[in-house]
């Protein structure tokens, strides 16, 4: 039954085209960035990695208003609750599906983006590792935010305010991994720790928010 829910989530994001939105945004930023800072390859290579992190974080935000609110409006969440699904399980399935539907294409889009930014192979490798670790955390944050704001008009914009402060540790340690002089290993451990924390609280926080939607 969980597999059916997971398949539905993926099918919906594919069918609505929403799966391309974060990717298009990510590539757009990577394309525009060299125009803004100039074509100097050294500057691009030094700052491009951090920019890619910011773009990845913001692109996780884009689909927030369609992760939970449409299911709430259509009564799907009520029907699942009647059938005895725990709110935490529904949240966990949504997180897993968002991770698959957002994280995997993002990692693929990283290749053309790194070419546009002129990143070195080593930087690309660190970037890919960091983003792969952060993806569950970003998906977890997005679903949490979506569940918290599902009842609000214009939830997407408020969503940004809720999500961004929580994502700052992941951003700091993720971008810190790219720092050539700093201890990259230490940043990696801290990134894993902060990502793990967000991933672990996600289903419970989002589940509680789903429960509150019914009251």
């Amino acid at each position: 039954m969980m597999a059916a829910l997971f398949a539905r989530e993926l099918r919906r994001s594919w069918a609505s085209g929403a799966i391309w939105l974060p990717i298009a945004f990510f590539l757009l930023v990577a394309t525009l960035y060299p125009f803004a800072v100039g074509p100097d390859a050294a500057t691009l290579a030094r700052t491009g990695g951090g920019m890619a992190w910011v773009a990845a974080l913001l692109s996780a935000l884009l689909p927030v208003d369609r992760l939970v609110a449409p299911d709430h409006d259509a009564g799907v969440l009520d029907q699942l609750a009647v059938r005895g699904f725990a709110d935490e399980s529904i949240a966990a399935v949504k997180i897993a599906a968002h991770m698959a539907g957002f994280g995997v294409p993002l990692l693929v889009a990283l290749l053309p983006a790194s070419a546009l930014l002129g990143l070195s192979g080593a930087t690309l490798q660190q970037l890919a590792t960091g983003l792969a670790i952060a993806c569950p955390a970003l998906a977890s944050l997005a679903v949490m935010t979506a569940a918290l704001t599902a009842n609000l008009r214009g939830g997407g914009s408020i969503g940004g305010l809720v999500l961004l402060p929580l994502s700052v540790p992941v951003l700091i340690f993720g971008a810190g991994m790219l720092n050539p002089v700093g201890a990259g290993g230490g940043a990696l451990k801290l990134l894993v720790a902060s990502a793990l924390l967000l991933t672990a609280i996600g289903p419970f926080a989002a589940g509680a928010a789903l429960r509150a939607l019914r009251e």
Partner: protein, 199 residues
């Protein structure tokens, strides 16, 4: 008529408070196999809240709600994915409920919408969408049916089909709670009129 110990669903001194306002309190009833309850009352007296309490979607502020069989609810939201065809959208819930495509087609036929099976949900009319929601409830195979204003938007022919489906369900041992301000043909049903305790 009283269900007693064999009740499939029972309310015992249930009270409901919404937004700081008491909608009703001390509501008690019991429904056994084959019985039905018609919840009546004006808009806003808590008919929908009573059904959500019965479905377990709301918790009573006082009293207890007991269910001894699987239940399903049909309210104003069909909960069907708009981009899918009607049959596929119903098949999703059938899969969750452990039912087959044959059950979906039977439910569509029972409500006279079998020719809409391959039409996307998003282009259904209001009445057709309401029937689709009822088809989801019939497909589920649940014993306790909770119907919130099921006749809203239905034409007379569809209402006759709905009444026939309810009668068949009761004849097979099911039970029905129906909230409606419109008259619905429910032979031998208990009646509960909510007057609005806080008003």
């Amino acid at each position: 008529m009283s269900g007693g110990a064999a009740a499939l669903i029972a309310f015992e001194a249930v009270a409901c408070v919404r937004g700081g306002r008491t909608l009703f309190d001390d509501i008690s009833f019991a429904l056994a196999s084959g019985e039905a309850l018609w919840v009546r009352g004006a808009n806003g007296v808590g008919k929908s809240s009573l059904l959500r309490l019965a479905a377990g979607l709301l918790r009573p502020i006082a009293g207890t709600v007991t269910r001894r069989a699987r239940h399903a609810i049909a309210d104003e939201n069909p909960a069907l994915d708009r981009e899918l065809t009607l049959r596929n959208a119903l098949a999703f819930w059938a899969q969750i409920d452990g039912r087959g495509l044959g059950d979906v087609d039977d439910a569509l036929a029972a409500l006279g919408i079998e020719r809409l099976a391959d039409v996307p949900v998003r282009i259904l009319s209001t009445g057709q969408r309401r029937r689709a929601g009822l088809a989801r409830l019939i497909t589920s195979g649940a014993v306790i049916w909770l119907l919130d204003e099921p006749a809203n938007g239905l034409d007379p022919a569809a209402q006759t089909l709905l009444e026939a489906a309810i009668a068949a369900h009761r004849a097979h041992g099911g039970t029905v709670i129906l909230a409606s301000h419109q008259p619905v043909d429910l032979p031998g049903a208990q009646q509960l009129t909510l007057a609005g305790a806080g008003a």
